[in-house]
C-alpha cells in the first residue's frame, strides 16, 4: 500500500502521506492481515468460540468427569466409573423423575402443538384488533416464567384457590380439588402451566408459517370441493410441516430440560412426586452437594436431547436436499 496510487485526474487531491509513524505502520499491517479472508474469519469467530468453549464445551467435559467421580462440595474427586449412573437408576425418586419428565414433555408438547395450531388458524383470519390480540397472546411467553408461575401457584393455592372458588360457585364441585397437594394432580397442573406458557410460541411461529401459504391454494382447493378439515389436512398441514418440526424440536428440548416451572410450582413435591430430571439434579447436586451424582442425573437428559437434535439435523438436511 506504500505504492502511491498512480495517475487519475484527481490525484492532486489525494493526500497519501506515508509517514514512518510506528503506530500507524502497525495498524496498517493489522489492517492488511484482516484483508485475508481466512484470518478475518478467524478473528471474527474467536470471541464466540472462546465464550462457547469456556462456558459450554468445557463445562460439558467437566460434567462428564464429575458424573464419573465421587466429587462433592469440599471433597476432591475420585474416579468411580459408572457408579453414579447405577445408583441413580436404582433410586426410585430418580425413576419417578425420569418418568415425570417424559410424561411432562410428551403431553405438554402435544397440547402446545394442538392449541397453538388452533390459535394460529384463528389468528390467521382478518378481524379488528388482530394486532393487539396477537401481541397480548405472546405475553405468557415474554413474562419471566418464575413470576407468572407464582401467579399460577397462587391460583392453585390449597386454601384460597380462585379456581376452586369458581368451580364451586358454578356448582361443578362440592369439595376442593387438590391441585398441588396430590402428586398426580400436581404434575398435570405443571403440564397445564407449561402449555399456557409455551403455546403462544407455537401459535406465533405457526402463524408466520401460515402467512406464507398462498391463499390461492385454499381457494383452488375449495373449488375442488374440499371442506375446511380437508383443506387443512391436504393443503395447510403439508406446507406447515417443516416449521412445525423445528418448533416441536425446540419445545421438546426446552420442556425436557425444564427447571424453573417445577421449582416454583411444586418444588418437586409433594413427597418428591413431581421432580423432573433438572430439579432432581439440582436437589442432589446443589442442595445436597453431591456434585458427581447430580451431574450424572442431568447427563441422563443427554441421550434424549441428542436423539432429538440428530433427528432434526437429518430432517433439515433432507429438506435442503429436496
Amino acid at each position: 500500500m506504500k505504492n502511491p496510487i498512480a495517475g487519475g485526474a484527481g490525484s492532486a487531491a489525494r493526500v497519501e502521506v506515508a509517514l514512518p509513524h510506528s503506530g500507524a505502520v502497525r495498524r496498517r499491517a493489522f489492517e492488511r492481515l484482516l484483508e485475508n479472508e481466512r484470518l478475518l474469519a478467524f478473528a471474527l469467530l474467536t470471541p464466540t468460540v472462546v465464550l462457547l468453549g469456556a462456558f459450554i464445551a468445557y463445562p460439558f467435559v467437566m460434567g462428564v468427569w464429575f458424573s464419573l467421580s465421587d466429587i462433592s462440595v469440599g471433597q476432591p474427586a475420585h474416579f468411580v466409573g459408572l457408579k453414579n449412573f447405577v445408583k441413580a437408576w436404582n433410586d426410585s425418586i430418580f425413576r419417578t423423575a425420569f418418568w415425570n419428565t417424559t410424561v411432562y414433555t410428551f403431553w405438554a408438547t402435544i397440547f402446545k402443538l394442538a392449541l397453538g395450531m388452533w390459535l394460529a388458524i384463528i389468528l390467521n383470519r382478518h378481524f379488528r384488533g388482530k394486532r393487539l390480540v396477537r401481541a397480548s397472546m405472546l405475553l405468557p411467553f415474554i413474562i419471566p416464567t418464575v413470576l407468572s408461575t407464582f401467579a399460577w401457584r397462587w391460583m392453585f393455592d390449597p386454601t384460597f384457590s380462585v379456581l376452586n372458588w369458581t368451580l364451586y360457585k358454578m356448582g361443578v364441585i362440592v369439595t376442593k380439588l387438590p391441585f398441588l397437594s396430590n402428586g398426580d394432580w400436581a404434575l398435570w397442573c405443571a403440564i397445564a402451566v407449561n402449555t399456557w406458557r409455551g403455546m403462544p410460541f407455537f401459535a406465533i411461529t405457526l402463524l408466520a408459517g401460515l402467512q406464507t401459504i398462498n391463499t390461492d391454494l385454499h381457494e383452488a382447493a375449495s373449488l375442488d370441493g374440499a371442506n375446511g378439515w380437508k383443506r387443512f389436512w391436504h393443503v395447510t398441514w403439508p406446507l406447515l410441516k417443516p416449521v412445525t418440526v423445528v418448533v416441536v424440536v425446540f419445545s421438546i428440548i426446552q420442556t425436557f430440560s425444564d427447571f424453573q416451572l417445577i421449582y416454583v410450582l411444586t418444588g418437586g413435591g409433594p413427597a418428591n412426586s413431581t421432580h423432573l430430571l433438572a430439579t432432581y439434579a439440582y436437589q442432589i447436586g446443589v442442595a445436597t452437594g453431591l456434585l458427581g451424582e447430580g451431574a450424572a442425573i442431568s447427563l441422563f437428559m443427554l441421550p434424549v436431547l441428542f436423539l432429538v437434535v440428530w433427528a432434526q439435523l437429518r430432517y433439515l438436511r433432507k429438506l435442503e436436499g429436496a
Binding site: 459450554i56 418464575v146 391460583m155 386454601t159 433438572a278
Partner: protein
C-alpha cells in the same frame, strides 16, 4: 373468500378466540388484583359469604410500598436490567461478527463450525449448571454479576448468530464488494455497509436476547448468593418467601413490577420481537 354462516363464525371463531384471550390473560389479571388487595380480603376462606375474589373493594398500594421500602427489590430490578443489557450487548457483538463470518466468508471448516454453533443452541442450561457452578468458582466469578454476564451469552450467542446469519444472507453481497472497490477494507465494508443495513435484524435479535436474559433463572439462582446482588426472578423466589410463608400480595406485586420492564420493551418492539421469535427457529 370462502363464505360461511353466522353461527359457524361464532362457534369456530368468536368463542374459541374469547376463550384463548381470557385463558391467556387471566393469570395476569389475577396477579394485578392480588397485588392491590389488602391482606384481609386476600386470605378469606373460599366458602366465606360475600367473598368476591375477582375484584377488590378496597384497593391498596401497601404491598408495593412494602416491596419497595422493606426489601431490596429495586436493587434486583437494577441488577436484572444491567445484566440483561450487558449480556445482550456481548451476545449481539459476538453474533454479528460470527454471523457475518459464517454467512459471507469462505474458510476451512465453515460448515462444521456453523453446525456446532447450531448444536450449542440446543444445549439446555440445566445440563451444565453443576459443573458450571464449579467453573464460575474457579474463575473467581461467584456472586458477581459477571458470572451471569458471561454465561448468559452461551445461550444467546448461538441464537443471535443464527438469526443474523440468516439476515446477512438476504443482503446482496455486491454491496460490500462495491464498498471494497470503493476503498473500504473488508472490516470497513462490514461495519459501514452491512451492519447499518442489518439494523432491523440486530434489533430483533437484541429484543429477543433481552427478554431471554430477563427470564433466566437457574444460573442466577446458583451463581448469586448475596440478597442485594440477585436478579428479580431469584430475589422473588428466595427473599419474598420467608420460611414457608407466602406473602401473596407482595409476591404478586413483585411479579407485576418485575414483568413490567420486559413487557414495556416488548410492547414497543412487538414486530421486531415476533421477527426474532419466528427467525429463532427458521434461521
Amino acid at each position: 373468500m370462502v363464505i360461511e354462516r353466522r353461527w359457524k363464525k361464532w362457534v369456530f371463531f368468536y368463542i374459541p378466540l374469547t376463550v384463548f384471550v381470557v385463558g391467556t390473560l387471566f393469570p395476569f389479571y389475577w396477579m394485578t388484583v392480588t397485588a392491590i388487595r389488602p391482606d384481609a380480603e386476600l386470605y378469606r376462606s373460599w366458602r366465606a359469604v360475600n367473598n368476591a375474589p375477582f375484584w377488590t373493594l378496597h384497593p391498596t398500594f401497601e404491598h408495593f410500598r412494602d416491596l419497595l421500602a422493606k426489601t431490596t427489590f429495586p436493587r434486583w430490578l437494577l441488577n436484572t436490567f444491567y445484566i440483561a443489557v450487558a449480556s445482550t450487548a456481548i451476545s449481539l457483538l459476538c453474533g454479528l461478527l460470527a454471523g457475518y463470518a459464517l454467512a459471507r466468508l469462505r474458510f476451512p471448516m465453515a460448515g462444521a463450525l456453523g453446525t456446532s454453533i447450531f448444536v450449542t443452541y440446543l444445549v439446555p442450561p440445566t445440563l451444565l449448571f453443576i459443573p458450571l457452578a464449579d467453573i464460575i468458582r474457579d474463575f473467581q466469578l461467584g456472586n458477581t454479576p459477571w458470572a451471569l454476564i458471561l454465561t448468559y451469552p452461551t445461550f444467546l450467542i448461538p441464537f443471535c448468530t443464527w438469526l443474523l446469519m440468516g439476515y446477512f444472507k438476504t443482503i446482496p453481497k455486491e454491496l460490500e464488494e462495491c464498498a471494497r472497490i470503493d476503498g473500504a477494507t473488508r472490516v470497513g465494508a462490514m461495519t459501514r455497509i452491512i451492519f447499518p443495513i442489518a439494523v432491523p435484524g440486530i434489533l430483533s435479535a437484541g429484543i429477543f436476547a433481552f427478554t431471554l436474559s430477563w427470564n433466566e433463572f437457574i444460573y442466577a439462582l446458583i451463581f448469586l448468593s448475596s440478597p442485594e446482588r440477585k436478579t428479580v426472578p431469584v430475589g422473588v423466589v428466595s427473599e419474598l418467601i420467608r420460611g414457608d410463608i407466602y406473602f401473596w400480595g407482595q409476591l404478586m406485586a413483585g411479579a407485576l413490577l418485575g414483568s413490567i420492564p420486559v413487557a414495556l420493551v416488548y410492547s414497543f418492539f412487538v414486530e421486531y420481537y415476533v421477527t426474532g421469535l419466528t427467525g429463532s427457529v427458521k434461521g
